[in-house]
Amino acid sequence: MDLSFTSEQDMLRDSAARFLANECPFEKVKELEESAEGYSADLWQQVADLGWLGMAFPEAYGGFGGSFMDLVVIQEEIGKALFPSPFFSTVVECGSIILEGGSEKQKVELLGAIAEGSLIVSLAQYEEEGSYLESGIAMKAAPLDDGYTLSGTKYFARDANIAHKLIVAAVVEGKGPTLFLVDAQASRVTATKMPTIAMDNTCVVELADLRVSKEDIIGPLGGAWPILEKTQARAAIAQAAEMLGGCKVCIAMTTGYAKEREQYGRVIGGNQVIQHYLVNMLLAHDTANSYLYQVASMVDDGEDFSAAASALKAATNENYKFVSERAVQIHGGIGTSREHDIALFYRRAKSYESRCGSTDLHYEKVMEGLLQEA
């Protein structure tokens, strides 16, 4: 047992933190939030050059063969800086899907392009109802001589507005949900941003008789669900890492503010109630963060991590909301303003809780895991 990071991971963390602090301060975050693109192509290329995008892909596919824990380190730093980018959609979600389900050819072509920074991919899974389940995938893939046509609307597709490719989940009659790789910039694809509390690139995507060739199917026909289930569990862990990074900064910023802001002739951090709020925030972070590393290790060790990923995400959903909410409260009026940075975390926390499955769904998965054990 060794609960320390490797020195490589320490370096990775330091360099990521430094890069984001310099290149993407909170001013820049707000500017990007308010832009139509919602990300900076320039910064995206820079993080590609830093090796983040291919970090966790095998070397054979243009990556650096890093561990899942490495990805977790990057995600924590992204979460601390609130870096607006398609990292989660492209690397964490779609990268994993391609790695899990893609053909050799797809892996070589797509993962390499992702790692280079030249390919942004968006997952178009959800439909109008917002179901997280397999049964929520209802869009039909109509068979054609050498492929399929896709028609309909997908919802909550992240970064579809800036993506080069989409991975669309659609049902092949008699087979079931299947993953299709499509050109996001085709004329028959329209992505429209939905206004979310996170001010991010969450999109509605309309597909109008879009043709897909058989070669652009990822994984087996009807094989979408096992791939999505496994990669979404991984993504949930990575998302939790991002959220816990956010918690950490909320605590640091708020502790700092509480040590400086004076009312009634002394700093507000001298008030016992403020102290206990901060302690409860710390507890929320430190417990979940300790567990994060344990769960991330399960991924790297090849253990079954699905119930643990759900446990982590459910706890983190609650904890990030709690921590960011108290952070705003302790900041008082200034914390509620757009000018200040702390509410950025508060708004993200609410949005992120719905990613990779709802809290209730994760609780249920935890329970199912427990009952299987028992």
Binding site: Y126, E129, G130, S131, Y132, L133, S135, G136, Y155, F156, M194, P195, T196, I197, A198, T202, V204, E262, Q263, Y264, G265, R266, I268, N271, V273, I274, K321, E325, V328, Q329, G332, G333, G335, T336, S337, R338, E339, A343, Y346, R347, K350, S351, E353, S354, S358, T359, D360
Partner: protein
């Protein structure tokens, strides 16, 4: 104990309902999201608010609980409460709380006759709009630390300084200002209250503060050599803290907040009855059912408390009603927060959506998720309210 309404009250309530049923038909849709702040957000909303204000005044409802000598009709606070309930049910604007609920009672108690005759009637007629010049960057919870200076120069004062979190300053005609008239007196000594006659006067600059979601109701207000005539000082010089403390305690039953939650809860229940996910309606989910039930119960509890606040105030138990009002404020704002958090959670992916064609209930709940933080902080943070309850209500000692 008797919780039944009298026949007169029932009739009045019916009249209120009929009025708002008609008048709110053409209200700008923003009022459905957050009426107390929507009024400041667009010219259209503001105009609607102003016209409603005059209609309410014409009906005699704006100031019904005021003494008759000041243009009210001395109605019991319980009647006022009934009006507030119906008003909140329809999410109607038209009440300038700063003028009617805060400044006017202060004037009645502390102003001289000339001031009462001059300042109160336009408020009663619904012709004017006030903002509250209290908080400063370094004087939030600790209001008595404020620094804005009003220097006496014979016949008038010259005001310099800065206020912050001034809701509606960009719309208001007037402000009631708390400023330091004696710089040698620290904290609550040396403060005076002023009626600022014209918010557009030279010497006043209003700058917007955007809320976390980008909307504009807060402002910074900068004073540079603003001239305020001596006759606009309310009460004795340097005695402003006393009247300010009284101002804090007027009509704070909090009934509007509970009614607002109740109405949103109705919409939420309707949403869960009509929204399907994964083969069933949301309302069939026991986890959702229980949380909705809890919210409903809290609304009922809060409403009962709000009645008690008004009752104690009516009976003249002002110390009791002030403490209860702090309880009502804390309970109400934290209830709003629970509702906003829970509802945007069970909406799943849709819960994050702001007002748009895809957003459930047009984004009311995600709006509330953001606005509720202001509710926990403005007009005395939940922490300050709890301190007050502990000290004044429970008699626990105050240490520094």
């Amino acid at each position: 104990m008797d919780f039944k309404l009298t026949e007169e009250q029932e009739a009045l309530k019916k009249e209120y309902i009929e009025f708002f049923e008609v008048e709110m038909k053409d209200a700008p849709p923003e009022f459905r999201i957050n009426p107390s702040e929507a009024l400041y957000s667009s010219d259209e909303c503001w105009e609607f608010h102003r016209s409603m204000q005059k209609k309410l005044a014409a009906k005699g409802w704006l100031t019904m609980a005021w003494p008759e000598e000041y243009g009210g009709r001395g109605a019991p606070l319980i009647d006022q409460l009934l009006f507030s309930e119906v008003h909140a049910t329809y999410r109607a604007p038209g009440i300038d709380g700063f003028g009617i609920k805060m400044f006017a009672p202060t004037l009645m108690q502390f102003a001289n006759e000339e001031q009462k005759k001059r300042i109160l009637p336009p408020i009663a007629r619904g012709e004017v709009s006030y903002c509250q010049g209290w908080s400063e960057p370094d004087a939030g919870s600790d209001l008595a630390a404020l620094k804005t200076r009003a220097e006496y120069r014979g016949g008038h004062y010259v005001v310099n300084g800065q206020k912050i979190w001034t809701t509606g300053a960009h719309r208001a005609d007037h402000m009631f200002l708390l400023a330091r008239t004696d710089p040698d007196q620290k904290r609550s000594g040396g403060l005076s209250v002023f009626n600022i006659e014209n918010m557009k006067a030279p010497g006043i600059e209003v700058r917007p503060i955007k809320y976390m979601n980008g909307s504009h109701f807060y402002n910074e207000v900068y004073f540079t050599d603003l001239i305020v005539p001596e006759e606009d000082r309310i009460g004795e010089e340097n005695a402003g803290w006393k009247s300010t403390r009284a101002t804090m305690n007027f009509e704070r039953s909090g009934i509007g907040g509970f009614i607002s939650v109740r109405e949103r809860l109705k919409e939420l229940i309707e949403y869960t009855r009509t929204t399907k996910r994964d083969g069933g309606f949301l309302i069939e989910n026991p986890l959702i059912r229980q949380k909705l039930a809890k919210l409903h119960i809290d609304v009922e509890l809060g409403r009962a408390l709000a009645y008690k606040v008004a009752w104690e105030q009516e009976k003249g138990n002002l110390a009791v009603s002030a403490t209860l009002a702090s309880q009502s404020k804390v309970f109400g704002s934290e209830l709003t927060q629970r509702m906003a958090n829970f509802s945007t959670e069970f909406m799943g992916l849709h819960g994050q959506l702001e007002a748009s064609p895809w957003a459930p209930l047009n984004g009311i709940m995600i709006d509330a998720y953001q606005r509720c933080m202001g509710g926990n902080i403005a007009a005395g943070t939940s922490e300050i309210q709890r301190n007050i309850i502990a000290w004044a209500g429970l008699g626990l000692p105050r240490f520094n």
